[in-house]
């Protein structure tokens, strides 16, 4: 359909046409009893630390939407490149899409140059992207990876702030997790000790924070490769249902029954052979 009022091709990217409408709708809905749907957040505990042989990242697996648990087995540790993984806290869709974009960009770079990307590249791309949108993209990320310069752990905030630290926790349960990490972290830890420490940190986040829960995922990145253990530890409070909730036939009593037979007469019959050779 050709429109006479379109003078230029619409630009690609974000479209702000519906903002005024949404603001008006919110105003109308607040007066009534209906609420606008809340986006799914990953109110979360994520943690990471640098050990002797590599980087260990950990995350819980609960995703909440308001006061309801939206996903009990959410994957919060995202793949960026063979040597870099990223934990994401904040709005689930934002972390998912941002890490996807980052992964695509780094893949293009790898194909161009034939090298594995460095962690600083990932951090810079993320920082540029998030600062451009002034925090409207609600993604707090922990990036960990091993490259030619060593083992790195970075955090990127939603407004584009970055920090390079040996151990880290983010999300709504970060205070609890950080307490454990501050107490027991030592530089150049052994791999098993590091995994136990991250597990304990996430565990304390799960215990103390409503937004975190269910299982614990651990991702170990070393020069040799990546070990993504999902789940590292399953929650003790699993769904142990006592009965089956399907209704058997005869649960509802039938009061009356009326059968009307449909009379069909054959009007035309054609036979078409299929060649099945």
């Amino acid at each position: 359909m050709a429109l006479s009022n379109v003078l230029e091709i619409p630009t690609s990217g974000f479209n702000f046409e519906n903002v005024a409408r949404n603001v008006a709708l919110e105003g109308l809905l607040e007066g009534g009893h209906t609420k606008t749907p809340k986006p799914m957040k990953t109110g979360t505990t994520i943690a990471g630390l640098v050990c002797k042989e590599g980087v260990v990242l950990g995350a819980d697996t609960r995703a909440t939407s308001g006061e309801v648990v939206a996903d009990k087995m959410c994957a919060k540790i995202h793949y960026i490149s063979p040597n870099i993984y990223c934990c994401g806290a904040g709005t689930a869709a934002d972390t998912e899409k941002t890490t996807d974009l980052l992964s695509s960009n780094l893949t293009i770079f790898s194909m161009d140059s034939g090298r594995n990307p460095r962690v600083v590249m990932a951090v810079n791309i993320l920082q540029d992207m998030l600062f451009r949108y002034r925090g409207q993209i609600g993604a707090s990320l922990i990036l960990g990876g091993v490259d030619c310069n060593g083992n790195h752990l970075y955090t990127v905030g939603p407004y584009g702030s970055i920090d390079n630290v040996p151990y880290l926790a983010m999300g709504s349960g970060d205070l609890a997790a950080l307490g454990i990490l501050e107490d027991r972290f030592k530089p150049n830890m052994e791999m098993e000790e590091a995994k136990e420490l991250v597990r304990d940190a996430i565990h304390s986040g799960i215990m103390s924070d409503l937004g975190s829960g269910n299982n614990i995922d651990i991702c170990v990145i070393t020069k040799q490769g990546v070990d993504y253990i999902r789940p590292y530890q399953e929650s003790e409070y699993k769904d142990k249902r006592q009965k089956r909730y399907k209704y058997g036939p005869g649960t509802t009593s039938i009061l009356t029954e009326k059968i009307i037979p449909l009379e069909l007469e054959v009007v035309q019959e054609t036979v078409q052979r299929m060649d099945t050779a």
Partner: protein, 142 residues
């Protein structure tokens, strides 16, 4: 030849229009889609990012060119801008979808993916402009 039209063909400035106005049939505002018309809605951006996103590419270019001028001298941005102008002219008529391949390669957009490539792709646009009007606007005859 109409030189005024030729200059407009090379226009690289964002035309000043209203913010997100749905112009419906007969040239009047589409009340169903954008509510009652008010001067405030027309002039002020409704979202914090609307203005900055509209001019983002322009501002980035300006920043990069001025840095380049400070480092390498005036010739560097001049040469680059000449190449950009030449590459921008390689396109089909306004109402058709052009690939901007040369321009993308010069700017480095062929090696990166951002929200411009995923959201609101003009190739998937549901609306087609009226060919004559779009060409006239592009040439500055309107």
């Amino acid at each position: 030849m109409n030189t005024r039209g030729l200059r407009s063909q090379l226009k690289d400035s964002v035309p000043v229009t209203g913010m997100g106005q749905h112009i419906g049939a007969y040239g009047v505002q589409d009340t169903l889609r954008s509510g009652f018309s008010s001067v405030k809605n027309e002039l002020l951006p409704s979202h914090a990012l609307e203005l900055s996103e509209k001019n983002f590419q322009l501002n980035q270019d300006k920043m990069n060119f001025s840095t380049l001028r400070n480092i390498q001298g005036l010739h560097a941005p001049l040469k680059l801008q000449m190449e950009y102008r030449a590459a921008r002219q390689i396109q089909r008529l306004p109402f058709l979808q052009s690939s901007h391949l040369a321009l993308d390669t010069l700017k480095g957009n062929d090696e990166s993916i951002s929200f411009e490539d995923i959201l609101n792709d003009p190739a998937q646009s549901e609306m087609v402009g009226e060919p004559h009007i779009m060409v006239e606007y592009k040439l500055g005859l309107m």
